[in-house]
């Protein structure tokens, strides 16, 4: 009982949004992060799905509230409203699909205009286990990320490689910004939330949200 209570306490709440082309593996990435396993027999996301997890970064408990969005172009009129207040954005592409990489700039523009001005953005090259089908090199993507001043990592939602790192890396950057005084968590509208005053009371939240992540 005590441990469960402890588990639900957090210092900050960060909203993350996962965007990128359809089929890049956004939902599988989220599922791997929350459940620590790959979900076979997947379905695609219609609109938005959620997940949340508390991670421990820099001596703080941080609750990540993650919004996983539909990738099909036709859903942009719907998903645009989900960016609001996001403190972190994951732009996912498929390293075996050149088109999904080429669309990175569009997604980046969406993230910069629709989320918070100081949103921390990471680009994620997913499916890095499929080395023989690779269509985008690590170097190329890493340069692109550098030019655009965003973070970059490659992951495999299948094996789990790099997945947790992505979320921790972004969370750490946001945390640093807060501790450097670049972001005042108390003035945030809904991007990050200070939860230090709270005694955990959302005991159902975690299990609930992991279930909804039907990758």
């Amino acid at each position: 009982m005590a441990s469960e209570k402890e588990k639900d306490q957090y210092d900050y709440l960060f909203k993350f949004i996962i965007i990128g082309d359809a089929g890049a593996g956004k939902s599988c990435l989220l599922h791997q992060f929350i459940e620590n396993r790959y979900k076979k027999g997947s379905s695609h996301t219609i609109g938005v799905e959620f997940g949340s997890k508390i991670i421990h970064v820099g001596g703080r408990n941080i609750k990540l509230q993650i919004w996983d969005t539909a990738g099909q172009e036709r859903y942009r009129s719907v998903t645009r409203s989900y960016y609001r207040g996001a403190a972190g954005a994951l732009i996912v592409y498929d390293i075996t699909n050149r088109d999904s990489y080429n669309h990175l700039v569009n997604w980046l523009q969406d993230a910069r205009t629709l989320a918070r001005a100081d949103t921390s953005i990471i680009t994620v090259g997913n499916k890095c286990d499929m080395k023989d089908k690779r269509a985008v090199t690590f170097l190329e993507a890493s340069r692109c990320a550098q030019e655009n001043d965003i973070l970059f990592l490659e992951t495999s939602a299948l094996t789990g490689e790099g997945v947790e790192d992505v979320f921790i890396k972004v969370a750490r950057v946001i945390l640093n910004k807060i501790e450097d005084g670049l972001i005042d968590p108390n003035t945030m509208v809904s991007g990050t939330h200070t939860g230090s005053q709270r005694i955990g009371s959302d005991s159902g939240g975690e299990a609930m949200s992991s279930k909804t992540c039907s990758c």
């Binding site: 709440l13 036709r74 719907v78």
Partner: protein
Amino acid sequence: GWSLPRADTCAELARRADALVPAEVRAQVRMDAPRTFQALPPGCQPSLPRHEAEARVCRVLLAFEWRNSNAQVRGLGATYTQGMNYIAGMCLGLCGWSEELGFLLFARLVEDVLGLEYFCEWPPLLGYHTDVAVLPDLARVACPWLHTALGSKLFEEVIAMLAVRLLVPCFVLTGALEESNLLRLWAELLVGGRSESAGFLAALSCSAPAEGVRTPPRLPLITWFVGVVGALGPEAASAAERLEAEERGMAAVSCILQGLATLPPGWHPGPLPRPPASVAEDLVRVRRCLVAQGSHALAIRSLGLPSADVERWQRQFEALPQVGHGEGIDAATLRDVLQVYTPARADYAHELFLLLDRDASDSLDFFELMAGILVLSRCPTARKLDLLFHLYDTDGSGALEVDELQCLAATLARLALPAEGLREVSHDEVGPYADSPLSGAARAAPGQARRERALKTASELEECARIRRRLLALDADGDGKLSLEEWRKGAQSLPWLLHLLRRAGVVDCQGGCADDLAYFNLGPEKYRECGLMQQACALQ
């Protein structure tokens, strides 16, 4: 010749689709087909090998795509949207995975019950946006506690998030409704609406009179949605209340989605909190507004103007004295605008107005005015003729079809015969001209009202018929409509057409083109800073 693909089989249409459906749509369908089965209830799971079942989902979707991309109306035709694969899988499942039967059921559901516009190409997700505009009010009555717990803004967001998840795939969703409940909802959709099914498009089309509003066949979706919020909202409200503001929305959505499966077999939503008629009216109103915005954007794109400029001009346009409720500007305003900017052209205002007002609404909307500015600019006659073509190609199909030709002919007839105030003609006399074989719901234009010009006088009628025959003479391949090529080729060689355009001040009085005359002094490169809108605003 009109060839309808209805007699063809799903397999045949799917085969043709391989060549005709855009590659990105085919790729999306192939990507999503394997991601269909998890969402289907146990009774609809295929007993055939998985790869064959996937192939059937693909073929049904591609055959449907072909059938609709072949439709004459672009924009409002349905196109593949994620979630349609769930619906196709469910249809196949209900038909024992018979491909042909499943295809027919799918076509019936999407075309007659949901309406083609539900998944229309543009504006995207029109059905969702339309329904979402009416849902919060209904849901609030069904569960005021949830509204209180979330506040208005968050409540609307929660309803929208639930709506996209539930309505778009018709409740076919992993872990959602218990199977017998899902089947009952589908039975209501497929069978319950039968008497109304003739006319979802008719009920929602621009031309339908307000009193003719009927219950939309997809109303069961809305009824069930509101019922679900009513049943599961209280629990969601208490779950949300325990949390910080930032977490409430997500918790409420999750709580309701997970609650769906717990609704016992035989559960049924009560009646809608409001009588369906008013919901139908709301839907018609919202849908009109959305289609107008969507087709507006489509039309502006066809002019090829930079969007930032268009937005700026639009704001200026909106500052002009409007006709009615922000509809557009009238002939007098146009004259005033011309008077300020180029007094010499003001004399043409009336004729120009007639030419630009192609839907005979007695007001120019923004698109019509923009097209007019370009027509009057110093571009070559060929370009002006192109613009005129696009102006009258109201459905953006790339061809002037019978009713669009009729519209153009009627305008030109009015230009040819300035108001003479001859006798009014009876409906019988108008009939042969006003009726088009494609009139009505099936030809509903995307937003730009496609009202036939009511021709007032007998001489106008005669002139109109004459002009229509002359225009149809340009139809080189005899398919009953004018392609842009045919129009370009033919129009410049018609002295009478140039003569008529001259009357509207579009071409100069020497019979040549206006290229050398600085009517507006608007070279193609100068239209960007054309001061027309600024000048017009100064009038106020």
